[in-house]
Symmetry: C2
Subunit: 256 residues, 2 copies
């Protein structure tokens, strides 16, 4: 567990705190900026304006400037941002200067795909170990890694110094797996199982639920369909609002 130095701002000592309190919203966007910057670098661009980078990352340019200002000033007025410099800066802030080891638990349908996903490797991570509780899956080789039984987790985690755990098990198995990960010192978990994990203070959990994403889209789809005059009703639950925007009180009972 070597920790690693943040390149200080050029200039006198004490100018820029090494660990600024970045707003969560900013942190969530930095990876997107980073990806866009890599694209620009591949295109041979050496500098980029906030306008250009914002477009590439799909955000407002003022927001981008404010985000970047939180990491210190790395732009030049009248010119823009140095692409290579900014890449280094963001990678440093995100802690990507070291390649973090990831343990993946649950090599089922989704887990199998994650194990083979090269986007992890190309963006700063190394899948260091695969686990599953099903003995039938133990021993299988995926992408050069052999699936191990989940009971081996504590031993392997120590050897590989796992930094992040990814849970791709069924919902019922997720909490015990999370507990095991926490027990071996993992403090960052990415959870694909459709359930809420309870973890001690200091452990970060991010959740990705594919069905939830679709359901959110479904809501907007539903709303859009209701706002436009519904063409051919399929005899289902939905009807259009007759008055459109005008009818403030319209609260028709709509059968199911």
């Amino acid at each position: 567990m070597s920790q690693h130095r943040h390149p200080g701002a050029p200039g006198s000592a004490g100018a820029v705190p090494a660990l600024p309190d970045l707003p969560e919203a900013t942190v969530a966007r930095l990876p997107e900026y980073l990806r866009a910057l890599h694209n620009l670098a591949d295109s041979g661009d050496e500098t980029v304006s906030s306008e250009g980078l914002a477009a590439a990352a799909g955000v407002n340019s003022a927001k981008l400037r404010k985000d970047l200002s939180h990491l210190g000033s790395y732009g030049t007025r009248g010119v823009g941002y140095d692409v290579a410099l900014l890449i280094g800066q963001i990678e440093s802030v995100l802690g990507l200067t070291q390649r973090r080891a990831v343990a993946l638990v649950g090599v089922g349908n989704l887990g199998h795909a994650l194990a083979g996903y090269d986007g992890f490797a190309s963006r700063g991570f190394r899948i260091a170990a695969l686990f599953d509780a099903d003995p039938a899956r133990v021993g299988e080789e995926i992408n050069g890694l052999v699936v191990q039984h989940v009971d081996e987790l504590s031993r392997v985690a120590a050897e590989e110094s796992i930094a992040i755990g990814v849970i791709a098990t069924p919902a019922a198995a997720a909490q015990p797996v999370a507990d095991q990960l926490v027990a071996v010192g993992v403090t960052s978990i990415l959870n694909f199982a459709p359930c809420v994990l309870s973890v001690p203070e200091g452990v970060d959990v991010r959740k990705v639920d594919l069905a939830i994403e679709l359901q959110i889209l479904s809501f907007h789809e539903h709303r859009k369909a209701s706002l436009t005059a519904l063409p051919a009703a399929g005899g289902s639950a939905l009807t259009a609002l007759p008055g459109g925007l005008a009818g403030g009180d319209s609260q028709e009972a709509i059968g199911t």
Copy 2:
């Protein structure tokens, strides 16, 4: 401007979507509530308090009450919420009363897993068609569906009345695919490709980028490691940093 509505007789009419302007944050949480409610229903619970449901969904109880209040009043003071009724209400608001047809484009590593993911089917969606641009993959059967060439998209979309498109292609192919989806009338897209899609007004895009999730975790991991390691020097520890940008362990190729 109150949108009060009595639950009334829930006989044949299960829900009353008055088409409220739900806050986005609320919409994003409703699916989580729905999942928790299904769990409760499976356990045989008929009612649940805001406290209990909030715990099951991993949120603050006041927030949950406010969220639910936006759909109208469906709780009973002193008692709680009727589980079955609330399930029906949320499903209605989310537009899950009809099973929406989903088209999946890109049957590579991740797409293959998505095609086989039963979480979609069990939570209101039907994968209706699979597409890929690679002729070698066309004809393959996954989960009872035959992969078709992406050029068939317009024909099939009409037949199946696709509501949602899922893009699981490489980044370079994502934008053309999105354009095709939009062209055949799809107004909701779930994008797994690591790139920004540009779509016309009225089309909703949600993005899921697995590497970004890891990078956000990496930031917090990095920050936690720095906080625990540095305080040895006392008060203003975070200043004198040896090495500039070319610091020893940094700057290795990450990303493409």
